[in-house]
């Protein structure tokens, strides 16, 4: 029984982290069709922003929830203006350019802060389940995932900006014919995607070893989740993170963490083979 609870908490943790890591990518890839290979480095920048702010005396909650997304969101805006905006509709070029961007960001951070491991302590402490221990931070992550989900849903479904963004993604020329500047909408959307990715970096900073190359650990998992989830942002990302989070954690429990990842990737390949449009392309057509 205790073991079941711990396993359930592990799955919850896996799902919540995966959802947080992916939602920004789902916006940038799903809505804007930009393959951002620097996604992992956006996570890394969020983590570094958190470490640096915390070490400078900023409250850790503020660094994670405010400093990290704000900083990475602004970096995202800058990158969109200088690089990404020339790449809309050029899928292969966007991959090449963002790969270069990823190398640049890794190099830049290594030069400034060195190739060393950084970290921040995990806040909140733990609790006992029978003979096992778990941490309150897991539950906090799940709560944050739910809040981000609600926030993105509200932004897309209930605000005027959300309506305009959905229309622009559907048909940019027609939206322009109605007086919308698609360029501006793309810029803001990219900034929001980057900001949410920075938030994920901030929230995962206490759980990960923070190095300039930490992004590489996330990027593959994020892409298969977003592709597996399909075109709709919330329902797709949520179902795919739930499914892959479950497979990953159970695989890791039954074998080893390494095989857990292998099982995850194999099942993702299988899923995309049988559902090429992703989970939401099959089951949640037309939602967001």
């Amino acid at each position: 029984m205790d073991l079941a609870i711990i396993l359930a908490l592990d799955v919850l943790n896996g799902t919540a982290s995966l959802f947080l890591l992916c939602v920004g990518l789902a916006i940038i890839f799903g809505m804007m069709k930009i393959i951002n290979l620097a996604h992992g480095e956006f996570v890394m920048l969020g983590a570094y922003a958190t470490v640096i702010a915390t070490n400078a005396g900023v409250d850790i909650w503020v660094s994670m929830i405010i400093v990290a997304p704000l900083f990475v969101g602004l970096v995202g805006l800058l990158i969109e203006r200088c690089l990404i905006r020339f790449l809309y509709g050029r899928l292969v070029d966007s991959m090449l350019a963002t790969w270069g961007l990823s190398l640049l960001l890794i190099g830049l951070v290594t030069t400034i802060y060195g190739n060393t491991m950084n970290g921040v302590p995990t806040p909140l402490g733990g609790f006992q389940v029978g003979e096992y221990r778990s941490s309150w931070y897991t539950l906090f992550l799940a709560g944050m995932a739910v809040s981000v989900m609600a926030l993105v849903y509200a932004l897309l479904r209930l605000t005027r900006f959300g309506l305009i963004a959905r229309a622009v993604m559907h048909n940019p020329n027609m939206a322009a014919t109605l007086g919308v500047n698609p360029d501006r909408v793309y810029m803001i959307t990219f900034g929001i995607g980057a900001g949410l990715t920075g938030l994920a970096g901030g929230l995962l900073a206490p759980l990960s070893g923070i190095t300039p190359v930490m992004g590489a650990a996330f990027i593959a998992k994020c892409f298969i989740t977003v592709v597996g989830g399909g075109a709709t942002i919330i329902s797709g990302t949520l179902t795919a993170s739930g499914l892959f989070g479950l497979i990953n954690q159970l695989g890791a429990y039954l074998t080893t963490p390494v095989y857990g990842e292998v099982i995850l990737f194999l099942s993702a390949i299988f899923l995309i083979r049988i559902l090429p449009q992703g989970i939401s392309g099959r089951f949640f057509k037309g939602m967001s």
Partner: protein
């Protein structure tokens, strides 16, 4: 009377292929201008070039007195140019109401009274408001595209083959609505069409287009008798 639109020597290409080869015409204030032509003569391209979808290779377009030849699409829209495109381009996954709200996207504040007012002219749309735009019939989509364009309160509407694939009852409705609207708003229109009856009942003046040039005016008598001289020798 001031001209709403003045087009001088307009040339535009699709890739390397020249489609418009020197278009010249004016649209007067409050005028409904028809442009008649066969497929492939550049009707749709003309409207796309006027809206800014295609760059002008040469020539000038003046709208309400200002030069818009190099402006992007959204800037022309904000000056009061509206397009109801061929194929209607409804946002399929948005509801009918959301499609209409997009008509207000350029406004500083979204005023839902504008939509409510407009719906009195388009009673057929009222019971469809919460349906996705993609689920509407062709005729309903055409009405929606027109209503969406009108939400932005344009001064000049570019209407591209509105009768294509649409049942006659809705064609009648579109004609009546457009004739009623001009009495209340200062509205001009360019309609390109192949349907002679439709163009005759709406237009004050009809021009013919051939091989990317305006070739002359078609008189009402010729139009109604079907003698429009469009056959290419």
């Amino acid at each position: 009377m001031m001209n709403v639109l003045e087009v001088q020597g307009l040339r535009a290409n699709y890739g390397p292929v020249p489609i418009l080869t020197g278009i010249e015409f004016d649209v007067g204030e409050g005028e409904y201008l028809g442009i008649l032509g066969h497929n492939g003569m550049g009707k749709t391209t003309l409207l796309k070039a006027l809206m800014g979808y295609l760059p002008a290779m040469n020539g000038a377009v003046r709208f309400l007195g200002s030069d818009v030849t190099r402006l992007p699409i959204h800037a022309r829209a904000r000056l009061g140019l509206g397009l109801v495109p061929q194929g209607r381009e409804i946002f399929a996954t948005l509801t009918v109401r959301e499609n209409l709200r997009m008509g207000l996207a350029a406004a500083r504040k979204e005023d839902s009274r504008i939509i409510d007012d407009l719906l009195t002219d388009f009673p057929r749309l009222v019971r469809l408001l919460n349906r996705p735009g993609g689920a509407l019939s062709g005729g309903e989509q055409q009405l929606l595209a027109l209503a969406r364009c009108l939400c932005a309160n344009p001064k000049l509407i570019l209407l591209d083959e509105p009768t294509e694939g649409i049942q006659p009852s809705i064609i009648e409705e579109i004609i009546e609505t457009l004739l009623a609207l001009r009495k209340r708003r200062s509205l001009s229109m360019i309609v390109v069409e192949q349907n002679l009856e439709f163009i005759a009942s709406l237009s004050d003046r009809v021009l013919s287009i051939q091989k990317g040039r305006i070739t002359g005016e078609v008189s009402r008598e010729d139009l109604l008798a079907g003698r429009v001289g469009l056959a290419v020798p």
